[in-house]
Amino acid sequence: MKCKSIEPWLSAFAADELSIIKRWVIRFHVKRCKSCCEELSLYQKTRAQVRRVLQNKARELSQEAVWPQIVARVEIMQKSQDRRESQTVPKIWKKAIPALAGVIVLLLSLWIHHAKQAPDQEILKPVLPLVEDFYKPGVTMMTFETDDPSISIVWFFKDEDSNQKNTNGGA
């Protein structure tokens, strides 16, 4: 390979960032090319020195701990956060409360709807078995009029066992 195509890879080679094949190609070239060898050496020396200086500087700086300087602020923030959490409704309730309200409204509307229809059914309920009995063979019906014209007493007699059933029904 020519020096022109190797040169862009030298800095990455010095930082050990290339794949095995590229490393092998560059090493092969550098061993035979003096100018590229010097270039690579310069990259490696520059990198080593700059890293050394920067790491020393960072080490000197980091002697001082950050925690003592922020501990007071963190504790204040923690306390205010705790206070806020104790005052606010828990997250789960924020969703549960509207859902619960919805269910209650639905149940109420169903109950109201049911209550509107209920009186008719309640009147019919005691009458229905009577009507069934009326049409059954062997059942005799007697009707007694009362003083109240809206009320009459109806008696059913079963012929077989003479059991009596009496019921009040609206006329």
Binding site: A15, T46, R47
Partner: protein
């Protein structure tokens, strides 16, 4: 640089999320040197680096609940550090533009080259010549030992862009040292 054990790190993060201040303190202690280092190298100012580190950890405490455990914690923390450092640099540039015109002297917090060792002076001068993203990528790679993929996540840019930043930063440093500071690498032996 050695990264903390992820298992214990996860349990620390879980506890800190629940409001355990001691767990948060352990996290701060595990990462303070690295955060300080990155902030210092990006800004070039030790005082600013301390302020930035404090700001980073305060932000961390506030927003730890939004951290998702599938992300690498240190990448997330570096990202906060880089963003806070960039914010500082933006403010500082605005401030410095005014103060230099008015006062015509070096801003406070910056030590003069004579006060530092010659080597540090050269490195600072060279790094100052790089663009902020180039400098950040270079520091995260060479000092913090992050991979290009990790740097891309920290800087929120494609992997190829990070490689490009690193290439131009290294090339620039090498050329400057060859032409202006050949004494910088004298005596440094490196096997090819």
């Amino acid at each position: 640089m050695k990264k903390p054990d992820t298992e214990s790190e996860h349990s620390l993060i879980r506890r800190a999320k629940r409001g355990d201040v001691q767990a948060f303190q352990a996290l701060v202690k595990a990462y303070e040197k690295r955060v300080l280092g990155v902030a210092y190298h990006v800004t070039g100012d030790p005082e600013a680096a301390r302020d930035i580190a404090q700001d980073v950890f305060i932000r961390l405490f506030r927003f730890l609940s939004s951290y998702k455990t599938h992300k690498r914690f240190f990448t997330w923390l570096y990202r906060i550090t880089v963003n806070v450092s960039y914010d500082y640099l933006k403010r500082e540039r605005r401030f410095r533009a005014v103060s230099l015109e008015e006062l015509n002297h070096e801003p406070a917090g910056y030590l003069k080259h004579s006060e530092r060792s010659e080597m540090e002076g050269i490195v600072d001068e060279l790094l100052d010549m790089l663009s902020t993203p180039q400098k950040t990528a270079f520091i995260l790679r060479e000092v913090e030992g992050l991979s290009c993929k990790e740097i891309a996540k920290v800087m929120n840019c494609p992997n190829g862009t990070v490689r490009s930043y690193l290439f131009y930063a290294r090339k620039y440093l090498k050329e400057k040292i060859r032409t202006q500071y050949p004494e910088f690498i004298e005596g440094c032996h490196h096997e090819v």
